[in-house]
């Protein structure tokens, strides 16, 4: 189910005949991917290309006493074996901190470990060979002498004085701490009729992009230029960092992103092994390819969500929520990731808890600690699922305690739709949200009362089903407040250049990138609509630092809202420029003319005057026939960044309907609903599919996904047979509905939609499981909700 309401604010440039805005149109260029003709980094081969295989630490924490590569060097196909110390000659280390995260600290990280390894899977040497298989053969013969050190693996004891300090220079294992205290929490709790506490535990999980991380780095010594082919979400960020640490100018580094086999925040960071591949290319003066295999992916792709969060909520008997209080603890691995840092997720948790609700009383502490496990960092819906699960879990516990329906307690506490602009208890500013409209729509879509009746009837037959509700807010369209103010050279603005070619088609270069979200499509839809040309005439170029304007890329749900607005503004200029030339050719005025369906027409009667192809012919080949003094500019460039609000918040609500087999602890998902508000919808189908895909990532976390470490810091399920991702057989159909509150920060009015599904799915499922288990008095606040955990909560095992 999808519905959109018309945007009452007229968008002049968009509200045109034949507009593609708000329409479902197929994405351009899907045939390439469906016919196996895509070009992913793993497909790229270059002349003289060699493959790098990393020898990785089997220990969570150890001193490197020595590396003996003599036998490995004799193996067939081996080109070079390079240690961390040797590679340091061409690449400098980095420290992943941001200055606006006060007090944050981390230690310098090298592309390849020198002297010491800090997690199982950290690279200790690079084997460069003619093939991956030969590289693996040789890597088995590289003998590394380790002296094992105490591994810090339990975040709960990481700060104890008796626990080893991972980086002595830092003094302790605390990477970052944030405290927030708003309103009068103690008083509010004291005045509450009930105060409920719970500890929420989240399984560490990871992105499992189907295409693993991959890079081909090609240092051309004769040109003194490095070309990096990589599936990055942020090519200009990679360009900046590669240049910085290899001692190059940015102009010497080109980053090319072709097709990308899934990203979800996994491919927006700087990984040590990818930096090593760039450096090896420079060292060896030839193209070097690194494709992580699946085991390496599990051991080195960023993990996320390893949090334990204590929460407290106060509530009055009439359902008024009086206060929220949380104490969040997260373990991030031995280094803060570069350059976005690994403190953002905890920071987001503090920002987002309690966000949908009226109460201003909110106290929070978040601590981020180092451990000897793989690094953690930002993955889709950073912090949102934790904040949402804690908030919505507490709200349901409060409702249960006072005997109120979960919908009703939300109705009584969600911020009113006419209360905006306003701020959250954590101080975030909301421009316009629509919690109540969204909740009302959700209740209609799921036929809440009928579902409750069905639940009750089935309970009598010993069938235990649950309904779970989760309201959420979502951070999108981040401004420089996210990273730029902290000193990271990650652009928050995006640029678009759009030009008319000599046959009247349009070429559009944008700094946002495509990993399947539909960046290319939404850009073409905006350009086509604003200009008045059909989409088949619009070609979009993205993912190449040599051939696109400078910009942030696609992450944090910013592509449509920021890149889309840049496209709109650039195309408006091009349209004006075209109409100026047309007016000169037609001896008319620009105001009397319009472009409709590839033809310049007269506004009043729509009469066709000149095809764009003819106009382009004249401009490019017969400028001599133009009136004197006319210099056509059939190319326009514009950039955009939100300035008024640091983030464009969106909101929504999810519901889960599921069955719990109380004998076995197995959960069967029956149905899932989402209503969300991402402002102007450019392509309803793309938005709905972002939501659905996001929901399923959240459902994976809710039921299946967890990186299981043992007490020595060994990841024990680093393969796809043991790490369970959501597959089609267990996933439900998902109904999606919308409320539309455009942001007034841009003419387009679009906010993001990439995080919404993931943000609330696990909370809805957990609440539904607890709803199903209500007759048994069992409450679970831990995900994934495995049969083992459910049976244990039920006291059956």
């Amino acid at each position: 189910m999808t519905s959109t309401s018309a945007n009452p604010e007229t968008l002049s440039a968009l509200d045109r005949p034949n507009s593609y805005i708000g329409k479902t149109v197929p994405r351009p260029n899907l045939d390439r991917l469906m016919q196996g003709r895509g070009l992913y980094v793993s497909d790229i081969e270059l002349p003289r290309m060699v493959h790098v295989v990393f020898v990785r630490s089997p220990h969570a924490h150890a001193k490197i006493i020595g590396i003996d590569a003599s036998a490995a060097k004799q193996m067939p196909g081996v080109i070079a074996i390079v240690s961390g110390g040797e590679l340091a000659a061409v690449i400098t280390p980095w420290v992943g901190v941001l200055s606006h995260l006060k007090g944050m600290k981390s230690a310098p990280q090298n592309a390849i470990a020198i002297d010491r390894v800090c997690w199982q899977g950290e690279a200790v040497a690079a084997v460069v060979a003619n093939s991956r298989a030969q590289g693996e053969d040789a890597a088995e013969l590289v003998s590394v002498d380790y002296q094992e050190l105490d591994a810090v693996t339990d975040m709960r004891t990481a700060l104890d004085p008796t626990t080893a300090v991972i980086h002595a220079s830092l003094g302790d294992n605390l990477a970052f701490e944030r405290n927030h205290d708003a309103g009068t929490v103690d008083q509010a709790l004291a005045e509450s009729d009930e105060v409920i506490e719970a500890e929420f535990i989240f399984g560490r999980h990871t992105g499992v992009t189907l295409e693993p991380r991959a890079v081909v780095a090609d240092w051309n010594a004769a040109e003194a230029r490095l070309t990096i082919y990589q599936g990055s979400q942020a090519p200009h960020m990679v360009q900046n960092i590669a240049a910085l640490h290899l001692g190059l100018k940015e102009s010497q580094v080109r980053v090319v992103c072709k097709d990308v086999g899934g990203s979800f925040g996994i491919k927006v960071h700087i990984y040590a092994d990818e930096m090593a591949a760039y450096a090896l290319s420079k060292l060896l003066r030839r193209p070097v390819k690194f494709v992580a295999d699946r085991v390496e992916s599990f051991n080195t792709d960023i993990h996320a969500r390893d949090h334990r969060c204590k929460g407290k909520i106060g509530v009055k008997r009439d359902g008024t929520i009086t206060a929220f209080e949380i104490d969040d603890l997260t373990g991030i691995g031995p280094y803060s990731m570069y350059p976005r840092t690994s403190a953002i997720e905890a920071n987001q948790v503090v920002n987002l808890v309690g966000g949908p609700y009226v109460t201003r009383n909110y106290r929070a502490r978040a601590r981020v600690v180092f451990q000897n496990k793989n690094v953690m960092c930002q993955y889709r819906a950073v912090g949102h699922p934790i904040a949402c699960s804690v908030t919505e879990g507490l709200v349901d516990l409060a409702a249960m305690k006072i005997g109120m329906d979960p919908i009703e307690i939300r109705r009584r506490n969600l911020i009113a739709d006419d209360a905006y602009p306003c701020a959250s208890p954590s101080g975030l500013r909301f421009e316009q949200l629509s919690h109540h409209a969204a909740l009302a729509k959700l209740v209609r879509m799921m036929d809440y009362d009928a579902l409750r009746a069905e639940q009750s009837a089935l309970r009598a037959r010993n069938i235990h089903r649950g309904i779970g509700i989760a309201s959420f807010i979502e951070v999108t369209n981040p401004s420089a407040a996210f990273y730029g103010v902290g000193g990271a050279k990650i652009s928050s603005q995006d640029g678009v250049a759009v030009r008319l070619d000599a046959q009247g088609s349009v070429i559009c270069q944008t700094s946002i990138t495509e990993q399947g979200q539909g960046s290319e499509s939404l850009t073409a839809q905006i350009v086509g609509s604003v200009l008045g040309v059909s989409m088949d005439r619009v070609r979009v170029i993205l993912g190449d630092t040599d051939n696109t304007p400078y910009g942030g890329g696609t992450w944090a749900s910013r592509g449509a809202g920021i890149g889309g607005e840049a496209a709109l503004q650039a195309t408006k200029v091009l349209r004006k420029n075209i109409l100026d030339v047309a007016a000169a050719i037609l001896q008319s005025t620009a105001g009397e003319l319009d472009i409709v369906n590839n033809v310049v027409v007269t506004v009043v009667d729509g009469a066709p005057r000149i095809e764009l192809s003819e106009l382009a012919r004249i401009v490019y080949f017969r400028p001599d026939t133009l009136p004197p003094g006319i210099q056509p500019e059939l190319m326009a460039t514009r950039h955009f960044v939100p300035r008024e609000y640091p983030f464009a918040f969106t909101n929504g609500v999810q519901a889960s309907w599921l069955d719990v087999d109380i004998d076995t602890g197995f959960v069967k998902l029956l149905k899932h609903w989402v209503v969300e508000d991402c402002g102007t919808i450019i392509n309803p189908q793309l938005v709905d599919e972002q939501i659905r895909g996001g929901v399923v990532q959240g459902l994976g976390a809710a039921l299946f996904e967890k990186c299981v470490y043992d007490e020595r810091g060994q990841l024990t399920n680093a393969n796809m047979a043991d790490y369970l991702v959501p597959m089609s057989g267990e996933m439900p159909d998902i109904d999606v509905g919308h409320v539309v509150s455009p942001t007034l920060e841009s003419e387009l009015g679009a906010k993001g939609a990439g995080e919404a599904g993931t943000a609330g799915a696990a909370a809805a499922v957990t609440n539904a499981v607890n709803d199903a288990l209500k007759p048994f008095g069992a409450i679970i606040t831990e995900i994934p909700l495995t049969p083992q955990i459910i049976l244990t909560a039920l006291g059956r095992i």
Binding site: E136, V295, F704, P787, I797
Partner: protein
């Protein structure tokens, strides 16, 4: 993630395969469907020096019925079992079980012989062999051997097969017309290895079990033919009788711990399966009233 190098020979006959196995002994691995062997080799968990590919041995493939014996060639694929009219008619338990094995693309390659020789304690077919009272036929340098299914499985990935022996076929008694069966497993996702599973074959006469063979899997280091089934034969099954059988089953189990389940959970789920199986086979919903620890 690339397999280590190995030498390879494509066997042209069973005799040729046996020659190769004799020549290369423990250095060699037999490649049938390869759906367990190749993942292990890709992950370099195994690095055999020599691979004997028996995939071309057409004589090892197929299902035949002679008298009251059903013979299944070792190279008969899971997909073949699923589609075979002989299996559907004479051992439908196998058809039901195979539907739970992995996914279509895997079932198109995986073979019954490979599955039995692999002897993964969590896999379906070994337990079915126990429930169906199968005989496993192996051929080696000294000729053919017939091994009862409950003597074949010796531990995790361990069987009674010698390195020089090849599993040739399995023989199953054709199930009587009025025989019934039950198959179920608890797996986290479609096609995953089971946390606990049960393959059962029964004769029900006048509301009682005249015969009941319960093949549990993923409850220990090898599939288990539950002796406790005996408590349910030729008696009027009441909740009390079932509870006693359940306790007796508990005594027989020695489940292992892994990431999916503790031993306690496996014991619990095995008992749930027993209850559901008996309830289903006897068409007695009243027996299915929840299981307590």
């Amino acid at each position: 993630m690339k397999a280590s190098a190995f030498d390879y020979a494509r066997a042209t006959s069973v005799a040729h395969a046996l020659e190769l196995l004799t020549a290369h002994g423990e250095r060699a691995k037999v490649l049938a469907g390869g759906q367990s062997l190749l993942p292990a080799m890709n992950l370099r968990l195994m690095a055999p020096e020599f691979i004997v590919d028996i995939g071309e041995l057409a004589e090892l493939r197929g299902v035949t019925v002679k008298g009251d014996v059903l013979t299944i060639g070792a190279l008969t694929r899971h997909a073949d079992l699923l589609k075979s009219p002989e299996i559907a008619a004479h051992a439908p338990l196998l058809r039901d079980a195979v539907a739970h094995v992995a996914h279509p693309a895997i079932r198109n390659r995986g073979t019954i012989g490979g599955s039995l020789a692999q002897a993964d304690p969590a896999s379906e077919l070994p337990a079915c062999m126990l429930a169906l009272d199968a005989t496993i036929i192996a051929r080696g340098p000294r000729g053919e051997r017939r091994i009862a299914a409950d003597e074949f499985f010796a531990g995790i990935y361990e069987t009674a097969l010698a390195p020089q022996e090849l599993l040739i076929a399995v023989e199953l008694p054709v199930q009587p017309k009025d025989s019934t069966h039950y198959f179920h497993e608890f797996a986290r996702r479609h096609g995953d290895y089971a946390i606990v599973g049960l393959a059962a074959q029964a004769l029900v006469r006048d509301g009682r079990f005249a015969d009941l063979r319960l093949g549990f899997f993923a409850v220990g280091d090898r599939p288990l033919l539950a002796r406790s089934a005996g408590e349910l034969i030729d008696v009027a099954v009441t909740p009390a009788v079932l509870a006693e059988a359940s306790s007796a089953l508990d005594e027989e189990l020695s489940p292992l711990e892994d990431q999916q389940a503790t031993p306690a959970m496996r014991r619990h789920l095995a008992k749930v399966l027993l209850m559901r199986c008996v309830s289903s086979l006897l068409s007695r919903p009243d027996l299915c009233t929840g299981v307590s620890a």
